[in-house]
């Protein structure tokens, strides 16, 4: 049995790596097929993200919201609720931070403003994720459908706030007034120009990892996710635990949106949701709902995104092709059959060997 366990965990890693490699190969093939100068483009796609400290910094910066959104989805995924409301929360949280900070004005210092902003973000996340979560709990409604519907509602709501509450009519495009300098977070690490959101992301990873593996609540969540009926039978309230996990996930999506807003923008200007919620799901899937692995998944995703951006600016390839690659990665990692033949063969061989050893011993 010991061998089986080893083979299983090894193959799990191999599967994820193989999935990434295949998806990457497909990406390169697409670039090759449609570009006029394929060699240069492919080179840019692979090496572009590393071509300057600034670009490396951009990869890290992009990985920051991916990490926090990935953590958010870890909560949902841990209790097996594909609550996708993080997508809407990310946008609304940035919008609420803008609105509240503009209402409070530039008078207050950062030490007062920043905690308020994070509280606003967390509350936004909890309040919004409360809706699908309570509908799941009270009415047994399908979380996926409700959260997707809700995202559309939130998108309109945030746009309405932008248009009628915080709009700066003096600029030519649709954008809010500038947020107070007290909440514009500085860049760190010199020429890499990394956002200070990195610190937020690192703190979040540590907090979530401890929560998952060292606290009773984390254990409860994982048990509920592994087998809800069993969790109920041993006296855990599966329903409330998955409910609270969804609220916690919402809170982290809120933090992600606020961090992105305060690090990366001076005005709120989104009129459509940003896909960060779905990116978070991809990261959580890659990390197998393990918060410690989330940053790695996020960095990988950021790397191919920046690669696509570089290609977009230096060539003729639209960035959207990355979403196709992203989809393929999720599918390959999620597909149980993928490489399962190899796994079974290895296990069969191991079992046969063990049998022979046993027989030899008996004889």
């Amino acid at each position: 049995m010991n061998k089986t366990q080893k083979i299983e965990s090894m193959m799990e890693v191999v599967r994820i790596l193989a999935g990434l490699v295949i998806a990457y190969a497909i990406a390169l093939a697409i670039l090759f097929a449609i570009s006029e100068d394929p060699i240069y483009i492919v080179q840019q796609f692979i090496l572009g993200p590393f071509s300057s400290p600034r670009r490396i910094g951009t990869v890290i910066n992009l990985a920051i919201p991916f990490t926090i959104c990935g953590l958010s989805m870890c909560f949902m995924y841990a209790v097996n609720k594909f609550n996708l409301v993080g997508e809407g929360i990310f946008m609304l949280s940035a919008c609420m931070v803008t609105w509240v900070s503009l209402l409070l004005g530039p008078g207050l210092p950062s030490v007062v403003m920043l905690p308020i902003m994070f509280i606003v973000a967390i509350l936004t996340g909890i309040v919004v994720s409360f809706i699908p979560a309570i509908m799941d709990r009270k009415f047994n409604a399908n979380v996926v459908v409700v959260s997707l519907m809700l995202n559309s509602v939130i998108q309109s709501l945030a746009t309405w706030i932008l248009r009628y509450q915080v709009r700066d009519s003096s600029i030519s495009y649709l954008g809010s007034r500038e947020i107070p300098e007290s909440i514009q977070l500085p860049k760190i690490l010199g020429s890499f120009r990394v956002q200070s959101g990195l610190i937020v992301a690192i703190i979040c990873v540590i907090v979530v990892a401890i929560l998952f593996y060292k606290t009773a609540f984390g254990w409860k969540m994982r048990l509920v996710g592994a087998n809800p009926r069993f969790a109920t039978a041993v006296g855990l309230s599966s329903i409330s635990i998955s409910f609270i996990a969804q609220l916690a996930g919402g809170a982290f999506a809120g933090i992600a949106g606020a961090t992105e807003m305060m690090c990366n923008y001076t005005r709120f200007q989104w009129t459509v949701t940003t896909q960060h919620g779905f990116d978070g799901l991809l990261v959580a899937v890659l990390a197998k709902k393990n918060p410690v692995l989330v940053p790695i998944g996020a960095l990988f995703l950021a790397y191919i995104r920046i690669g696509a951006d570089v290609v977009n600016t230096s060539g003729d390839i639209p960035t959207e092709f990355v979403t196709v690659i992203q989809g393929i990665i999720i599918l390959l990692v999620a597909a149980e059959s993928f490489l399962s033949g190899t796994k079974n063969k290895l296990i069969f061989k191991a079992a046969e060997k063990e049998e022979k050893e046993k027989e030899a011993k008996a004889a």
Partner: protein, 308 residues
Amino acid sequence: MTIDWIAFIAEGIRMATPLVFAALAALICNRAGMFNMGVEGMILCSALGAVIFAHYGGSVWIGLLGGIIIGLATGMFIAFASLTGKADLYLTCIAFNLMATGGTVFVMYLLTGEKSTTSGAFRSYQIPVVDIPIIKDIPVLGRIISGQSLITYIAAAAVFFMWFFLKRTRIGLRIRAVGENPKAAESVGISVNKIGYISFAICGVLAGLSGAFMSMSWVTFFMKNMVNGRGYIGLSAQNMAKGEPVGSALASLLFGFTDALATTLQNQTNFPVEFLEMLPYLATIFAIIITSIIAINKRRRIEQGAAK
């Protein structure tokens, strides 16, 4: 504020057309035991496919066929990933919808150099509107029933076809058996996977029709993310009707009217457009709440012994 109620009803039916197809597409998968959220992305791909085929084929009919082919192909793709690849169906569908959103823009850009709509680069084709003789001259009714797009009539026919198909054909019987007890079906040699593929194929055709309607009747071009949750609304509609074709169509009709209401109010009042845009989604959420409250109350009444 004056509202032309007859035009409103006709518009409601028009808006319900893609939803009816979406609901039926989700329904056939649901009856085979699969919750297919991928309908959303399938419709989006078909909408683009229809426009591309029509443009290069030079005919609206080739466009319609193209929509169906793309619907079928995307259905097979999801079926392959979840049935043969054994990936979780929820994840498959979320991943697929993600690919559809980006992929349609990608393909559109490659073909037209545009990223938001094909209206500039591609010729627009419209599926013909059908005037039904005699009926079209009846006041009120004529304006509602006659003069709809051909696809709208196909949708009405599809509802009854679906009902007949599930009830009276061998495949229909097998789909119901697989959906209710896949092990039982498997034990008599019915391939659950094969039934799954068949359901996805039918689902694909219906999603294709829905997509073709979107880009060749609702409007006459493709634009980025134009399906905008209609697949999910159709999915909820059939879920509310517990997989019954006629009930699903009625639920879709209700959502179609909400959609029409939003458009009508948008044109005739100065109510903030953002709130009107929320209407169909809010309606879906409320409809889900109401149907589940009804179901829960019914069960509670039975369990308390009131209904014997």
